[in-house]
């Protein structure tokens, strides 16, 4: 293999290895040893908060949903099959989680609809339900999706200023990220070693390497 091609390949491998190492380390630090990814948002618009299945059921591990009201009022958190939840939400005022940002840990909300949400407290479609003052929490297991989570006040009053947190946790994620970082580091180290060993021996035209003089006596 020509030396120039080998050096180009070496650089490519070095960049790939370095990128893998950075990516792995960055994920490992972001997730922590528990492998926990946490995302939060605080609603500004009045109405229920909704998490659709494209986010709720997007990862194959349980998701913990926590809804917290600063004023200590009632919070009701429910989960139902998406078709049923959609029928109840209809066109009432809701804020739907529309984006998840990792590792920023933030969620995007999209407001839609008008009018109060009715029938949510009497319906029999909710597979999971939690209600408490100030904070309510649920863990949604996967396997029954698509499902939708809805946060309301539970008493018909408009909900505003609720902070919702979605948490996914899998300790394997941390070790996966760590493995990626280690593999990337090893690859980068080998590439760097190869580049070092095959570095050109001659200097550049601007800085010619001094020639060794022959010592004569």
């Amino acid at each position: 293999m020509p030396a120039a091609v080998r050096r180009v390949l070496g650089v490519v491998v070095l960049v790939l290895g370095g990128a893998l190492a950075i990516f792995g380390a960055w994920n490992a630090v972001s997730l922590g040893p528990s492998g926990e990814a946490r995302f939060s948002v605080t609603s500004k618009d009045p109405g229920a908060l909704v998490v659709q299945p494209d986010i709720l059921n997007s990862v194959g591990v349980p998701v913990r949903i926590t809804a917290r009201r600063g004023d200590g009022g009632g919070v009701r958190l429910v989960v139902a099959p998406s078709t049923d939840a959609r029928a109840i939400l209809a066109r009432s005022a809701v804020s739907t989680v529309s984006g998840v940002h990792f590792p920023a840990g933030t969620l995007d909300l999209r407001a839609s609809g008008v009018g109060a949400l009715t029938g949510i407290s009497t319906a029999d479609v909710w597979r999971l339900s939690a209600k408490d003052a100030g904070t309510a929490q649920l863990v949604v297991n996967q396997g029954r999706g698509p499902e939708t989570a809805v946060v309301t006040s539970g008493d018909g009053t408009a909900l505003r200023g609720v902070t919702m947190t979605l948490t996914w946790a899998d300790s394997a994620w941390f070790f996966d990220a760590l493995a990626v970082a280690v593999i990337g580091s090893i690859v980068a180290a080998f590439a760097l070693g190869d580049l070092w060993n095959t570095r050109p021996q001659g200097g550049s035209p601007m800085h010619p390497r001094p020639r060794r003089g022959r010592v004569t006596t």
Binding site: V11, P53, S58, V125
Partner: protein, 333 residues
């Protein structure tokens, strides 16, 4: 750094930026949302049991207490014709003979027979209880017409002697609601209509009935004939049976047969003959419902006939397996 090297490096960085999100998704195992299974059960076993407990507890509360809270409890437990029957039962409780009061007055654990399959509406739950005061089980139909409306008891009937039910699909699989009678020897609506017509008085012949003869309709017809004979000197008696619209539900069983619930409204009409006055004081139900102890022109008594049929899939006739006919209304002048 040569130009060629810079181009390669830039390409790599660009490619890694573009695929960065994909790599993160791969590490976290992020995937698209799962697709809904149209034949899955829309509620868990615990949900179904909680619904039964809630409705039966409310029914018991509604029938053992009085006032606005009791009425609200009845509305929580019952809907439609079953609510009409429960309200009448409460009103007539003081004059009902022992044994005809609601079996729900005795606390008991209902047995879940069938839960819905699929995400369409209406959805139904079938349950069964055994009355503490009698040996015959009672079948219950709970319905939910839409996502926002909870399940409530919409029909109940006592099983007839020597009848039984074939098993339904496992609760984890759910039971299919039969629409328009597809895959059955007779459409549920047509069956109920024919059965109602067959019980009319004066009697009307029903040719090729899709149901077998049963003790309930025989008793209804015999009693109608007896009443007509008893009041013949003072009044003309007639009896009409009309299927209540929207009351017929059919649920598929594991064998492919179906259980059909239906409600028929029976109206007993008395046209008092000219110059006659009928003393109704002995009929305490009628007096409670109408406030009249004497009628000179006409009187009606309305009953709801909650009937349950076992309908075969391909051959044979439907068989009545449960029936109840509580009084719900009366009028007189």
């Amino acid at each position: 750094m040569t130009r060629r090297f810079r181009v390669i490096l830039l390409s790599i960085v660009t490619a890694m930026s573009v695929t960065g999100c994909g790599a993160a998704h791969a590490v976290l195992g992020i995937h698209g949302q799962p697709r809904a299974n149209p034949s899955s059960v829309p509620l868990t076993l615990d949900q179904a049991k909680n619904i039964l407990t809630r409705d039966f507890t409310a029914a018991q509360q509604g029938e053992t207490t009085a006032g606005a809270a009791a009425r609200a409890a009845l509305r929580t437990a019952y809907t439609g014709e079953a609510l009409r029957a429960a309200n009448a039962r409460v009103k007539l409780a003081s004059v009902q003979p022992t044994g005809t009061v609601s079996p729900l007055l005795a606390p008991q654990q209902p047995r879940l027979l069938a839960v819905p399959r699929g995400f369409g509406f209406p959805r139904v739950i079938l349950a069964q209880t055994v009355a503490s005061e009698g040996p015959l089980p009672i079948l219950y139909l709970l319905t939910s017409p839409d996502a926002a409306t909870p399940y409530r008891i919409s029909a109940s009937a006592t099983m007839l002697l020597a009848t039984s039910l074939k098993p339904f699909d496992p609760l984890a699989k759910g039971s299919q609601l039969v629409i328009d009678g597809e895959g059955l020897v007779v459409a549920p609506a047509a069956l109920l209509k024919a059965y109602a017509a067959g019980m009319a008085f004066p009697a009307k012949a029903v040719t090729n009935p899709p149901f077998t003869a049963d003790v309930f309709s025989a008793q209804v017809r015999a009693k109608a004939a007896s009443v007509a004979k008893g009041v013949a000197a003072q009044a003309r008696f007639s009896q009409v049976h009309q299927v209540v619209p929207g009351s017929v539900y059919a649920v598929r069983q594991a064998s492919g047969d179906a259980i059909v619930f239906g409600v028929i409204e029976r109206t007993d009409s008395f046209a008092v003959k000219s110059g006659q006055a009928v003393n109704t004081a002995a009929n305490k139900e009628f007096v409670l419902l109408t406030g009249r102890k004497r009628v000179t022109k006409s009187a009606t008594i309305t009953r709801l006939e909650f009937v349950v049929f076992a309908v075969p899939r391909s051959t044979g006739q439907a068989t009545l397996v449960a029936a109840s006919d509580p009084v719900v209304a009366g009028s007189g002048s």
